[in-house]
Amino acid sequence: MTAERSIVPTGSPPASAHRVAELTPDLLLTEEHQMCPGCGEPLALRVLLDTLSQLGVAQRTVAVMGIGCYTSFSGTMDLDLVQALHGRAPSVATGVKRMLPDRVVFTMQGDGDMVNEGLQEVVHTAARGESVTAVLLNNGVFGETGGHMTATSVIGQRTKNTLEGRDAEYHGHPIRIGDLLATLDGSAYVARGSVHNAGAVARTKRMVRRAFESQLRGEGFSFVEILTMCPTGWFVPTAEGPGYMDDTLGQVHTMGELKARPGGGPSDHASGALAPEARPGGGPSDHASGALAPEARPGGGPEGGVGR
């Protein structure tokens, strides 16, 4: 059918129409980047930058960037910015915020940066209730080095150094960083969204907005984890990225608001605010319990043997 259907010209804007969404977020100096096809990080970037624009805080914002694929956004984001070392962005952001307490300060880190290399930094920054917003782009893989296991890789996930899939007994268990940070008294707002479909993008945008609003109210540490597609690092076709994300990462790192201060105003999610998103075909716990089933634990069955 497609071959026959008439194609609408899309080379230039039509007459008698108004633009409802711009090509490039206001705070991007160029739409060009070197991310792979199907990467979810630019989607998260748009969410972040659009939110800053809409909040009207771009001219009092400092970004602190970690090291990963997304580091290249340092050169394209039209924001005052400090480039940090791998893992260290929360501490650098702490120094920035303490010297510029009336500015909006956020970090952008990947899961390798935040949950592997810099785990204690984000934990302590959250525990101190540092008034910064940490944004985690979590794709469960070291994308920049070419697809290696991180601390958030899920059980069964194939990476270049877990060729048979991540095995809990041999490689350990993934860390649900959002859940961990939500337990700390210093964290005011914690949420986990994703960019694997347009609805998720819209929900994630509300989370990012609420995180920054929490910072503007001075409530403490705010955190938004955004699950992003990495088809290159997952070794799946680009078009299958969203589905793979939902079936793997999304089942362990379940989406939803994990924590919000009572005074933070009503949630856009209404009743579902503090609960994982409902999903068709069974709740996330089904899959999680499958991944962490008793028989898969050490000594629980023949599959558990890895020669240790």
Partner: protein, 360 residues
């Protein structure tokens, strides 16, 4: 002038405050701890911030962030803690941020760490080694000035004696030459203007105003080292004119050596001293001049032999270089041991002067 009795830690903290330092982050470790204590008390009194960082890694990262806003900021530890900070020191140097680092060291075995660094890449820190509290007050203030002047980290090398000795000192702000404005610092105000700023060690600017990238950045940062070497050598010498023997020492042990040399001179022994105040840049020329025509160049340092390498570079084979220092510590490991004794040092100098073996 009002002088007040202060331990070195307090005096250095006061000197940092007098220098305009308004941010400090650190993690307790003897003998650095009291410096942190004093800054934790003093900085809030002057509108600054002192954070009890959860680790040295975090302390240096916090200072990095504060520096990026243009604030005068510092961190510190003992050498062990500084070992943890080395990655950040490298990158902060390449980011051209004016960090001041205090190493309240356990003895002098951090000479290599201070002057060569344990980090990656082509980076150097200016290293200043005071011998007593009065000099520490001056060099701390100089450190903040030089860091800004060169946009390069400066390390102040102290030790247990410096931290815990008290002297009556006056900590008044010193006056230095004017510095250029910190137009590179971020304040968050330029987002969305196409003129936003990036503080980065990678030499990467914005796409509309790209930096030269990593190669060009290194080419721009590294040549500063030659300029610093040309302009920032600091050294004290004494009794060199007719010296037949020279002793080289730095930091608080140099005060012992200077005292011994003074005693021996009073007794007619032709001995002089060279005291490097800047360990990097090292006073190679002063050492070379001192080595001219002497029978020996002795090196007294409280370690297994580190600065002796630089002395040999300076001497260039013109005289025998003899190490008369050594490892010296008490049970605590804080670097105050039996070698820090005027009589012991005198004995070792006299042994060399008289052509005997140096006692092991």
């Amino acid at each position: 002038m009002t002088r007040r009795l202060m331990e070195g830690s307090e005096a250095m903290a006061e000197a940092a405050v007098a220098s305009g330092c308004r941010f400090f982050a650190g993690y307790p470790m003897t003998p650095f701890t009291e410096l942190l204590e004093h800054l934790a008390r003093r900085l809030p009194e002057v509108g600054g911030v002192c954070i009890n960082a959860e680790s040295e890694l975090e302390a240096v990262g916090m200072a990095w962030g504060a520096l990026a806003t243009g604030a005068r900021a510092a961190t510190g530890s003992t050498g062990q803690g500084l070992s943890l900070m080395q990655e950040s020191f490298s990158e902060i140097t390449l980011a051209e941020l004016p960090l001041v680092v205090f190493n309240m060291a356990r003895g002098q075995s951090d000479y290599f760490q201070a002057t060569r660094g344990g980090g990656h890449g082509d980076y150097r820190h200016i290293v200043l080694a005071p011998m007593d509290i009065a000099e520490a007050v001056e060099l701390t203030q100089l450190a903040f000035h030089l860091a800004d002047r060169w946009r390069n980290p400066v390390l102040v090398y102290g030790d247990y004696l410096l931290a815990h000795t008290a002297e009556a000192v006056d900590v008044s702000p010193m006056t230095f030459a004017p510095l250029p404005p910190k137009d590179w610092a971020v304040d968050g105000s330029l987002g969305g203007t196409s003129r936003s700023r990036t503080v980065s060690s990678l030499g990467v600017g914005k796409v509309n105003r790209p930096g030269g990238g990593i190669p060009a950045h290194f080419e721009a940062v590294v040549p500063k080292q030659a300029a610093i070497t040309a302009e920032e050598v600091r050294v004290e010498t004494g009794f060199l004119d007719d010296a037949q023997h020279v002793v080289v020492a730095f930091g608080t042990p140099a005060k012992f050596v200077r005292y011994v040399v003074g005693q021996l001179r009073a007794e007619g022994v032709h001995v002089g001293f060279v005291r490097p105040i800047s360990l990097w840049p090292f006073p190679y020329e002063a050492v070379a001049a001192a080595a001219e025509g002497v029978r020996s160049v002795m090196v007294f340092e409280i370690n297994g032999g580190q600065m002796v390498d630089d002395v040999r570079i300076g001497v260039q084979g013109k005289a025998p270089v003899v190490s008369i220092g050594g490892i010296s510590t008490d049970g605590s490991g804080f670097g105050v041991g039996p070698l820090l004794d005027v009589e012991v040092i005198r004995g070792r100098v006299e042994a060399v002067v008289s052509g005997q073996e140096v006692p092991a």
